[in-house]
Symmetry: C2
Subunit: 603 residues, 2 copies
């Protein structure tokens, strides 16, 4: 199966088109402004001197690179001279300040010159990777190749220092990213050297001297150094690093037909999906190391679930899809898009979560009442910018490139992976999707010069109707009829349980409606959400809510009644209570509030 690029796809209207418009009109500018305020833009002037304010951080290059990449995707669909000028301003500075030998890094030029490629965890290759992705996107959007040329020159510098002269003090990057970026460079330029470089960084991970711990408090698993990548079978360590690596592994496996490498990707993908992923798609159970932990270890309140990790899982799943015409990959992408990734940005498009827990108890932030320090818990309101501000521009580039995830193809079959109102045009082929999804499950598909359409049947859907003959295979309905296809996925609230090995969700259920996982907030319910119980016999009302641009649900549930005593004989007394649930991604948009995804189950 081949992914179909955003370049062949236009969103027409609906939920995601609205998100894209907000992204183009608000988010891209807001992120730019905050990056400007914090000195990230002007840092490209390379004028920092010791003692100055706004000392560049070693990951600032990547923040701006991701912003450029997002802006480039926007420019692909519409002209925006102001936006383009902003990019050109930065690109000119990159060209001007790139060293003669091709090296480009703000921090290691103006803050710690002479320390180039000496510290494995200082994100130089990570920054390089993001700059390359941005350069490719900008070239594809505008045809301008100045930035791409700079990055080709930088890639040569990296090849020289890591692969030829071996002057770098480490072999593989502490934070993966360059691997998948080099494959993008390869696909854009057809220069096979970049693919070889990607393969080099992948092949050398977890072997030789790089296996040593490179950060005092972490171990080899933190940066996926514990084994040679082909021997890795489980997802370990920093979740974003991990999924960027796995994405790069997929790319190299695909381009080099490396079955062993693909087999490792598949084992790891299954390990994540079957044992280490929150129902929201969130990845990373611990803030310590921002990491995967153990199988089935999914605490809700302290969940890290970095926004970038959900985005990186979209990248990973989208690459896995190429090897296997199975709907699981698009299912995961849907889960991430509507939940884990989307929660990262506020409904007004201006502020962001880095961490996306599945439970908030405001009280617990003052748990240790007799100490001065607060407990370490995720923040409860989104912010416009962070010191480590990787997530905001990652959201921006994701939303601007949504077209990447809707369609794919395999010979004469066009696969419909996401139900987004859009038009695909590639060569003489044309597919149009019309839908209000996720508001309802009705999807209409028209095609021209396409033999077969394969429609993903979402894993949450128990019942659907199609107006044509179809063949069901690995989660896709294959339809060869020429008439307009009308498919209707029955949407109703579903009670979802965790595998019983997930300790934190025992005796609890989550609510899903369509692709959205729901949560409850105190602002709609009572203060202590753990007093509420959901009944096994679902009785609900549905209501479209403009604020969330989605349906909110009202369930007949219960509130536990207890005596004033701290402990008492079990009473089994509950009072009726209408529980209002909203899509998880919309939490924390109406002030601070307690929040809960997994509800007590009265089974």
């Amino acid at each position: 199966m081949n992914n179909i690029s955003y370049r062949n796809v236009n969103l027409n209207k609906g939920y995601w088109k609205d998100k894209q418009l907000l992204n183009e009109n608000v988010t891209i500018n807001s992120v730019y402004d905050r990056f400007y305020d914090t000195g990230r833009i002007e840092a490209f002037k390379f004028e920092y001197k010791e003692g100055d304010d706004k000392r560049p951080h070693f990951f600032w290059d990547s923040d701006i690179a991701k912003w450029i990449e997002g802006a480039a995707y926007i420019l692909n669909n519409k002209s925006d001279k102001e936006l383009e000028n902003k990019i050109d301003y930065i690109v000119d500075l990159i060209e001007k300040n790139q060293l003669d030998d091709g090296y480009f890094n703000i921090y290691f030029t103006v803050v710690e010159p002479g320390k180039r490629f000496t510290n494995r965890d200082c994100h130089e290759l990570y920054c390089a990777g993001h700059l390359m992705e941005a350069a490719v996107a900008y070239f594809e959007a505008t045809g301008k190749d100045k930035f791409l040329k700079c990055m080709e020159k930088y890639a040569e510098c990296i090849e020289r220092e890591f692969m030829i002269n071996k002057t770098a003090k480490f072999i593989t990057p502490g934070h993966e990213e360059i691997e998948l970026a080099l494959v993008k460079m390869y696909r854009c330029t057809n220069n096979r050297k970049y693919l070889d470089m990607a393969k080099f960084f992948i092949d050398n991970r977890g072997v030789g001297s790089d296996v040593e711990d490179f950060i005092k408090c972490f171990n080899e698993k933190y940066a996926q150094n514990h084994l040679p990548v082909r021997e890795q079978k489980t997802a370990e360590g920093h979740a974003v690093r991990a999924c960027y690596l796995y994405s790069g592994m997929c790319d190299v496996a695909y381009e080099t037909k490396d079955q062993e490498l693909y087999a490792a990707c598949k084992e790891i993908f299954n390990d994540i999906v079957n044992k280490k992923m929150y129902i929201t798609g969130g990845l990373g159970s611990s803030h310590i190391g921002e990491s995967f932990t153990m199988a089935y270890d999914l605490p809700n309140e302290t969940a890290y679930c970095e926004t970038c990790a959900s985005i990186s899982m979209i990248f990973f799943a989208n690459r896995m899809m190429r090897f296997d015409n199975n709907s699981i990959y698009a299912d995961i992408i849907e889960r991430e898009l509507y939940n884990g990734a989307l929660a990262g940005v506020s409904l007004d498009g201006k502020s962001f979560f880095y961490e996306n827990p599945l439970e908030i108890n405001l009280n617990n932030h003052i748990h240790n009442t007799s100490t001065k320090d607060k407990d370490r818990l995720p923040i409860t309101q989104r912010l416009e910018v962070f010191d480590c501000s990787c997530c905001p521009p990652n959201i921006t580039r994701l939303l601007a490139s949504l077209g990447d995830y809707i369609y794919s193809e395999d010979n004469e079959v066009i696969y419909i992976n996401q139900f987004i109102d859009s038009k695909l045009e590639k060569d003489n082929k044309k597919v149009i999707i019309e839908t209000n999804y996720p508001q309802d499950g009705l999807v209409k598909i028209r095609k021209e010069n396409v033999d077969t359409i394969a429609i993903r049947i979402p894993s949450w859907c128990n019942h659907f109707e199609i107006n044509s003959e179809y063949e069901l295979k690995n989660g896709y309905a294959y339809i060869s009829s020429n008439k307009e296809i009308v498919i209707n996925f029955e949407m109703k609230p579903l009670l979802i349980e965790s595998n019983s090995l997930v300790r934190n969700n025992a005796n609890k259920v989550a609510i899903q409606y369509g692709p959205f996982v729901y949560c409850i907030e105190s602002v709609d319910n009572c203060d202590n959400l753990y007093q509420l119980y959901i009944d096994k016999n679902i009785q609900y009302e549905l209501e479209f809510d403009k604020f969330f641009n989605a349906n909110v649900l009202k369930f007949k549930g219960y509130k536990k009644v207890t005596s004033d005593k701290l402990y008492d004989f079990v009473s089994n007394v509950y009072e009726d209570y209408i529980i209002k649930a909203i899509p998880y991604a919309g939490y924390a948009n109406r002030g601070e509030s307690n929040m809960l995804v997994w509800l007590n189950y009265k089974g």
Copy 2:
């Protein structure tokens, strides 16, 4: 109501007599040996020089003092020359090394001389208090007054430095204890000065310069400095410090008829019992500050529940009883004795828990798989000695003085507070309790020269039968009949729920049978205890277990069956499972195991 002293009471046989014998024959010697090994005994020679091994810690005096106190209670009931010699050896060293002005403290004489009474958190007055309690106990047991004289001299030194010359650099102790000890000195010697001193330390807490934070990371609540004690209404800060203070407050309120002080004690007692106490009686929800936290904040796995805190709550409750002929106080003492306090010592009497959590998941000790550090969780096996080894000798003195908690009196009424096979002899009054409690609920009581017996009806008991007329009042059954009283408390497993404001116990129940709270361990059940569910319709089998010297229970329950998927539609499929439960206090006596008190409730 007056407490009746252990000096008037002898245990005859049964559960607690066995515990006392183990304490006399094993624990007292084992604790001594470990204290000897670690240098605590020889430290009393005052021969430490800088650079030597086994540098005395500033709380070592108190460890040995509590050990002496326990040994003294043992000597009260039986002659043991070897034990007495060990005490005399230490007492001689105390006399020898006490400074001329009465000051006695190992650390501030040999390690930091010249720093006497300069650091409020260095436990000098706490050590002094424990030495005073020990001196009183040893005098009462043997009539030997050398130790008591030393402590009277030390008390004068303290009076001089704190109350007369005010040369001490602080006003009240950072760790309370001396308050209640001074009242013991007063009652033993009839010297009212000691009561005045106790009142001084209580009256001055939370006022003046002592309000300032004295430890960098804690706030005023940590050592109960946040308000003058009479204005305190909630239990705050370090749980052991707190309950030692509250005990001292009770003592002073009782001796000085201070209604305002008693009112504060009552409010605080209710705050603990109604909002901050684990079902095991455990106190202190956080290891940070070993502290009370917020109302209803009772996490199970990270519960601190220091053994000493349960013991200190026994002291507090036993003192509260004097003001109020209500069974709640003896109920709490029962809860602590059979659960929170008893869990602190192993079944073989040799090793100890400092922390007593209500849940163990061994896996969670390696939760952060990509870091070198382990998570901070309570240890899972008891140890023979700790660096801070306050709990082992506290257990020893508690078990040796159990006679303190069985009876109390008010005019012509003798109150039966605990159902322990024993004999009370005081003046011409005599009461004999015969019972196998807690193995069953049958209790026989004979009396001589006693008008009325008041028998506590345990709060867990829904049904009981008495062979005599009785009047029920505030939880006691008053009986004036002269024949042998036979009372039978119906014992059956009870499902207990928490107040619905306790987040961690929502949709869960605990099992209680008689005074014991039960837990389940993996060694008797499956690995993942949170897969098990208890049914609302209790079906059980009872079996006496010699190892635990108590009944173990087998319940008809369920194990949740789920698919291999991480998330799936709720299934409501369970398989039958026999859940074996043991008394909580016996947990962790058969190797490392997962453990759970609060079980999923299938209601």
